[in-house]
Amino acid sequence: MIRLIKNEMVKMFTRKSTWAMIAFVIALTSFSSIVMYKMAPETPENSRSYYEQQIQSSKQALETPFLPEYQKEELKKSIKINEYVLENNISMEPSLWEQVQENSSLISVIAIFVSVAAATIVASEFSQGTIKLLLIRPISRGKVLLSKYLAVMTFGLIMMAVLFTVSVVLSGILFGFDGAAKPFLYIGTEGNVVEVDILYKTMESYGLRSVAIIMYPTLAFMLAVVFRTNALAQGLTIVSIILGPQVATALTKYSWTKYLLFAHTDLSLILTGNPFGVSFTFSIIILAIYFVIMNFISWFTFAKRDIAG
C-alpha cells in the first residue's frame, strides 16, 4: 500500500501544475501577511484613534440603503468588538498569531487546489488511457482507488503545512516573534463579547476549517470517478466551493438547507453562531454521512465499472 501511495505521489509531483499550486499558496500567504502588516496601525499611540475610526466608518456603512441583513449584522458585531477594545483598554497591536489565525481563511483556496489535484489524479488516468495498465496488476481496484485517495489527503496535509509554516515564519518576521499573545475577540451566541487565547483560537480555526480540505476533494474525487473527465469534476467542485456556502446561506429560510453539505463545510461558524441554527454535533453527523456516501459512490463505481475506450 505504501508503494502504491508513493507511486501516486511521484506522479502528482512530476506534474508542473502541482508545484505551481504550492508556489501560489506561498505567494498568496505572503501577500496576505504583507498587506495586513501595511494596514495595521503603526504605533500604540495611534491605535486608539485607529479603532475610533473603524467604529466611525462601520456606523457610516450601516446607513447605506438596501444593505443586506447579514452584512448589517457583521457591521454591528465589528462595532461591538471595537468598542469593547476601547472600553477595556486592550492592546490590539497586531501580533504573529493574529496574522496566522487570519491566514486560515486561505484554507478555502487550498480546498480548491486540493480538489483540482483530486480530480486530476483520477481523471488523468482515464484521459491518458493509463487506467488500463494500472488495473491489470494483482491489486484490487479498491486498493488502487484508496491509494489515490490517500495521496490526495497527503497533498492536503502538505498544503496545510505550507500555509501554516509560511504564515508563522513571515508573520514572525513582520510582527516579531515575541509579540504579546493578545486575545481574540468575537461575539458569542448570547450577543456578548468573548475573549479567547489567540493561540488556542488559531489552532481551532485551522482545525475546523480543514473540514473543507477533506470534504471538497472527496467531492471532486467522486465526480472524477463518475464522469471520468477532469473539466467536469473540477468545474463542479470549484463552483461548489465558491457558490455553495453562499447559496446555502441565502436559502436559510428553507429548513432543508441545513441538510446541505455546504451548510457545514465551515465549522468555525459554529462558534459565532451557525446561520442554520444547528448544533456542532448535528454538523458533524451530516458531514460524516456525506463523507461515507461520497466515498461509497466512488468505490462502487470504480470497482464495478467496465473499462472501455
Binding site: 506522479k11 491518458q128 493509463t130 488500463k132 491489470i136 496488476r137 494483482p138 473499462i307
Partner: protein
C-alpha cells in the same frame, strides 16, 4: 480441471444493453504457443482481450488463466498475465524508467536490475531515462512490451502489437515473441486485423467476426495445399490459341484464362504432362507457378469476403 492449458475461455458472452458483443466464445490456449485473434475491426477482439484481463466483466461464461478464474480470483489469475490493451498508453510526462518503476512497484519482487534487464531486452536502454513524450510510436510500443514482461508472465496478451513498428521492428518483435514461446513456454496471445502479419507470427489463429468464433485453425491448415489438385498458372506465348487446344487435349481439367495466363487445376504429374505437350506443340513456356493459398484467401473465404 486441466493443468495443461494456459487460458480457457468457456462460453464467454458479453452483452451491452440488448446488443450481444461477444457470443458464446470458447477457446483453449496452450503454453508455448503463439495464438492469434484475427478479425475485421469491430469484430470483438479487443472486447475479448479486455475480458481476459478483467477490465470488462463478462455477462456469461468463464475465463480461466492457469485454472484461476479472472472473475472470482482476479489477483491470482492476473498475476501470471502481462498485457498491452490497445495502444501502449503510458505516462508521457515521466521517463521510460519511471514508468517501468511505477508498474514494478505494483508487483512484489521486481528491482532495479530487472527493470534495466527488460529495458535492454526491448532495446530501449539508451533512451530509458528520457521522457516518454519524446518517444516515437515504435519506442512506446517497446516500452509497452517492457511493462508487460516485467514480471515474466506465463501468459502474454498483446493487442495489435506491431502497430507503429517499422518492418525491421516488426520482425524483431515476431522473433522475440517466438523466443518467449519456445524458451519460456509462454502462451503469447496477439490480436490483429493484418493477415500477413498473423500468418508469420502465429501457430494457431482464431477468426472472430461479429463477436462469434468462426474458426480456429493451425497455421499449417491455413496454408496447406489441398491433397493432390491445386491451381497452376502457365505463362506462355500465344495463350489464347493454346487455351483452346489444351481444352481439347485435356478435356477433364478445369481451365481458366486470367490476366494473360492459363490457369489449370491439376495434380503435379498432369502439370508436367501439359508442359511436355505445350513444348511439343511449339509453344514457349516462360513460367509455371503453383498458386499457394494464403491466409488472406482463407480469411476472405471464411468470412464471406466481407470487408
Amino acid at each position: 480441471m486441466n493443468d495443461i492449458l494456459a487460458v480457457q475461455l468457456q462460453n464467454v458472452t458479453k452483452k451491452i444493453g440488448k446488443k450481444t458483443i461477444i457470443d458464446k466464445l470458447s477457446l483453449d490456449i496452450l503454453p508455448g504457443e503463439v495464438f492469434g485473434f484475427l478479425g475485421p475491426n469491430g469484430a470483438g477482439k479487443t472486447t475479448t482481450i479486455r475480458m481476459m484481463v478483467g477490465l470488462m466483466a463478462m455477462t456469461e461464461g468463464e475465463i480461466l488463466i492457469h485454472n484461476k478464474s479472472i472473475a472470482r480470483d482476479f489477483k491470482g489469475a492476473i498475476a501470471s498475465v502481462g498485457a498491452i490493451v490497445e495502444n501502449p498508453e503510458l505516462y508521457n510526462f515521466m521517463s521510460g524508467y519511471r514508468n517501468l518503476e511505477h508498474f514494478a512497484n505494483m508487483i512484489p519482487g521486481i528491482g532495479k536490475d530487472r527493470i534495466m534487464e527488460v529495458a535492454r531486452q526491448v532495446g530501449l536502454e539508451g533512451r530509458i531515462h528520457d521522457k516518454v513524450k519524446t518517444y516515437s510510436l515504435g519506442m512506446k510500443q517497446r516500452l509497452g512490451l517492457a511493462q508487460a514482461i516485467l514480471h515474466k508472465p506465463s501468459v502474454l496478451i498483446l493487442d495489435e502489437p506491431s502497430n507503429g513498428l517499422d518492418p525491421a521492428g516488426m520482425r524483431e518483435m515476431r522473433e522475440y515473441l517466438r523466443g518467449l514461446a519456445i524458451k519460456d513456454n509462454t502462451a503469447v496471445i496477439v490480436s490483429s486485423h493484418q493477415l500477413a502479419e498473423m500468418e508469420m507470427m502465429c501457430d494457431r489463429i482464431a477468426i472472430i467476426q461479429d463477436g462469434k468464433l468462426i474458426d480456429v485453425r493451425e497455421k499449417s491448415d491455413f496454408i496447406r495445399q489441398d491433397e493432390g489438385e491445386s491451381w497452376f498458372s502457365f505463362k506462355i506465348d500465344k495463350p489464347e490459341k493454346a487455351e483452346a487446344q489444351i481444352r481439347e487435349a485435356f478435356p477433364d481439367l478445369r481451365i481458366n484464362m486470367e490476366g494473360g495466363a492459363i490457369k489449370v487445376r491439376a495434380i503435379a504429374e498432369t502439370v508436367a504432362g501439359i508442359n511436355v505437350w505445350l513444348v511439343k506443340n511449339g509453344y514457349l513456356v516462360y513460367t509455371i507457378t503453383q498458386e499457394i493459398k494464403t491466409l488472406e484467401d482463407r480469411f476472405l473465404e471464411v468470412t464471406g469476403g466481407r470487408k
